[in-house]
């Protein structure tokens, strides 16, 4: 039999390469993953480990130099009342911001996932994402002006003769203050505003995957809408809520700009890290402070998993 050549040619480098990738799929996989693995492994995880190792060193109180001996002394330092205050204050703020974000974001995400179609879906995405496109600093300073004593919010409330309500809120001890821009309430509002999209989007993605027939099936089996919400919608949205809360919680735990611009000048973890590694030169304590959010998040995720938050995944 005469051997005929009917297959298309594979001349050229690209064609040879394509053939190689087809014969050895792992070569392509390696080529695609290698840059990411190097980035994540060396630059990202590596520097994080280096930072964590620092937290087990300590600082010499007289010379101010770092003693390169492994010790837990720096972690004991964290438990000093002043430092513990910072941790409690930050965790409380992060928790309140996260809970409020869940409450505010849920109806928005629910509407977007279940009712918005076509043009309204676009309006939703742009509306949620638009704040992310502008500079973070601009937004925070804008809020400072809005919340200031001479700001637009005070002015509007005065025109509406509701100034007394704001004064009432501001007179609450601890969270109140001279004006919203120098109180914990103000910090809370700005955090809530800035991180809200990070809660809405994963929530919407989770709700998007709940087909209407689940809600109908639940009603069909005798569940009133509130019961359907708690036994079907909420559990299925939970992975999205957890994902969103990881964002809002950890972003609040680590932020040092917002409490510095809008707030009562009492320190948050991010500010503590900033000042210890900067002028104070106390890298070990700064590193120990950084470990706090990591431990809290790990514990939070472990707890969420134990409670079955990811069963619907």
């Amino acid at each position: 039999m005469i051997h005929t050549h009917t297959l298309p040619d594979n001349k050229g480098l690209m064609a040879k390469l394509s053939d190689l990738f087809w014969r050895r799929p792992w070569v392509l996989l390696l080529a695609l993953l290698l840059p990411a693995i190097l980035w994540l492994g060396i630059i990202y995880i590596g520097s994080l480990v280096a930072l964590l190792v620092q937290s087990f060193f300590s600082i010499d109180e007289f010379s101010g130099l770092i003693k390169y001996e492994l010790t837990l002394k720096t972690y004991l330092e964290l438990l000093r009342p002043a430092n513990l205050d910072i941790i409690v204050r930050t965790v409380t703020m992060a928790t309140s911001v996260t809970v409020a974000a869940v409450v505010v974001a849920f109806p928005i995400a629910f509407y977007a996932a279940r009712y918005a179609r076509g043009r309204w879906k676009v309006v939703f995405y742009v509306g949620v994402m638009l704040p992310l496109w502008s500079s973070y600093l601009v937004k925070v300073y804008a809020w400072k002006l809005i919340l200031a004593k001479e700001g637009i919010l005070n002015w509007i409330l005065a025109k509406l003769h509701l100034g007394w309500a704001l004064d009432g809120i501001l007179s609450i001890p601890v969270i109140g203050g001279n004006s919203l821009s120098v109180s914990y309430i103000g910090t809370f509002f700005v955090f809530l505003y800035v991180w809200l999209p990070f809660m809405v989007l994963p929530m919407q993605a989770a709700l998007e995957r709940v087909p209407n027939s689940y809600l109908e099936a639940s009603a069909d089996l005798g569940a009133k809408p509130s019961k359907t919400f708690w036994s079907v919608v909420f559990p299925l949205a939970l992975p999205g809520i957890i994902a969103g809360s990881i964002f809002t919680f950890s972003l609040t735990l680590g932020d040092y700009i917002i409490p510095q611009i809008v707030g009562s000048s009492r320190l948050f973890i991010g500010q503590a890290v900033y000042s210890h590694q900067g002028t104070a030169g106390n890298i070990p304590l700064a590193a120990a402070f950084t470990v706090v959010p990591i431990v809290i998040m790990a514990f939070y995720l472990w707890f969420a998993k134990r409670k079955g938050a990811f069963d619907a995944l």
Binding site: E216, L221, G222, A223
Partner: protein
């Protein structure tokens, strides 16, 4: 005999589309009723109206003699097996099945025994701890059935429940559903686009077309005595003889249906026809014939069709009683 479900002049409009158009329908207590029709014919909307997922634009629906127009789905004594089963993915099989009892706050021990009884009934003993995602299509279907039956509804609604199953499993489930309905003695209302399924299971069926009931009757009625051309052509492969063809054969009438198996091939007498194509179906042979430029399908014994070739001139005949006269479509 009381009626399980009654439609009185029921219409459902979606914007400008009349999904259900002025339907009057009575489904008897304890019967296996099928709603048959092509997609978009309104059969599924009718089912959803009974379940309460949609509200009629006009008219009244009664379930077991009680008007339900203003009753939400969670207060109706009907349950549904969904087309995609709609099993809750975060709950185990047992939790899915016992969902309705948990809503009713039934005691835990009773709940457990009831759930086990239902799982036994659908032959899924020992599957209670699994997640729906770990089951095959047929098993999921049976879980959906058990879940819908646990609160002992008087009427069970099934929305194309066998659509996602392969042929063999579908035939098995047809048998199973039918015997289940006989044992429970409750009303099954079943939506399908598959006439074979409707015929093999239903006591009576309604054929839907464009939001209306084109014909209501027993499978035999519908198969042998189609009222109009739509029913005749939708149900099975019945031939519809047009007015022109009838006139050319010297028969008066608007249109007539003729079952393929009623056409005989004669060598001498009969009407002249041309064989366009033939296909071997195993026990029978299907012939595609042309008479006066109109196509007819005939189903003949293997032996009868064996010697025929394409483009052969043949002579066909049928008993005059096989020709069923029809009215225009409603």
């Amino acid at each position: 005999m009381t009626s399980a479900v009654q439609f009185e002049k029921v219409s459902k409009h979606f914007n400008n589309v009349r999904a259900v158009d002025d339907v009057d329908l009575t489904i008897n207590d304890g019967e296996f009723f099928a709603m048959l029709g092509p997609s978009g014919s309104g059969k599924t909307t009718c089912l959803r109206l009974i379940a309460g997922f949609e509200r009629p634009t006009s008219g009244e629906i009664s379930v077991l003699g009680e008007p339900v127009k203003n009753v939400p789905p969670y207060r109706r004594n009907v349950n549904t097996v969904f087309q995609d089963y709609a099993l809750f993915p975060h709950l185990s099989v047992a939790e899915n099945v016992s969902y309705a009892l948990k809503i009713k706050k039934i005691d835990k021990t009773i709940r457990r025994t009831e759930t086990e009884n239902l799982l036994d009934m659908v032959r899924l003993q020992g599957y209670g701890d699994r997640k729906p995602s770990e089951l095959s299509g047929g098993q999921r279907q049976r879980v959906a059935l058990a879940r819908a039956l646990i609160s002992k509804p008087k009427v069970l609604l099934l929305d194309e429940p066998l659509g996602a199953l392969d042929l063999k499993l579908r035939e098995e489930m047809q048998e199973e559903l039918k015997s289940l309905q006989r044992t429970l003695g409750i009303t099954f209302v079943f939506v399908t686009h598959d006439q074979g399924e409707a015929f093999s299971m239903a006591d009576r069926l309604a054929v839907f077309n464009e939001g209306r009931v084109a014909q209501l009757g027993t499978p035999e009625d519908i198969y042998y005595r189609p009222k109009n051309a739509f029913v005749a052509s939708f149900v099975g492969t019945s031939n519809v003889l047009s007015k022109n063809l009838l006139n050319s054969l010297g028969i008066e009438g608007f249109a007539a249906s003729l079952r393929p198996e009623d056409i005989n091939i004669d060598s001498e007498n009969g009407i002249a026809a041309r064989l366009i194509s033939k296909s071997f179906l195993g026990s029978a042979t299907r012939l595609s014939l042309e008479i006066n430029k109109e196509r007819l399908t005939a189903l003949v014994d293997y032996a009868q069709g064996q010697h025929l070739k394409e483009n052969d001139e043949v002579r066909v005949s049928w008993k005059s009683s096989a020709l069923h006269m029809m009215q225009p479509a409603p």
